[in-house]
Assembly symmetry: C2
């Protein structure tokens, strides 16, 4: 077994209203920044004990399905960064 660091991004599914993204966009525009739009999400870096990078990625997907991402409204991206 080895330690693998996996990066997990959780975003609202495209097409859903993103209140936080809209708030950020309006606040930045109000400060004078040339912002057209913004999306806001969560990001995690999780150190996992797994036999391989492939296993670590599969475990990370299970973690998203089980806890980190709401299957109805969220989409997620998983990327194995390397050994922790």
């Amino acid at each position: 077994m080895a330690h693998h660091v996996v990066r997990i991004e959780v975003w609202l599914r495209d097409g859903l209203v993103d209140p936080e993204g809209r708030t950020v966009s309006e606040a930045l525009s109000g400060m004078g920044f040339p912002v057209l739009s913004a999306r806001a999400g969560k990001i995690y870096e999780v150190t996992i004990d797994a036999g391989s990078a492939v296993e670590a990625e599969s475990l990370a997907r299970e973690m998203c399905e089980a806890l980190l991402a709401n299957p109805v409204r969220d989409s997620y991206r998983v990327e194995v960064l390397g050994d922790g």
Copy 2:
């Protein structure tokens, strides 16, 4: 001018206690996942109207300093993804 999509990650500075990361790590371990540790952060994708990718990155850094990242406790990463 052109539209540039910039990805901004905001993390707690290394060494600071990460309550959310710890909660996620404990919850996942409690569900039986082989998690050793976890960090939690925020991620934004911002579409900016700028003359170049370099200008877009510079603007994104200013946005972090002005609003998106708390200079005392946060660190941030900026990456220009491409034209929006």
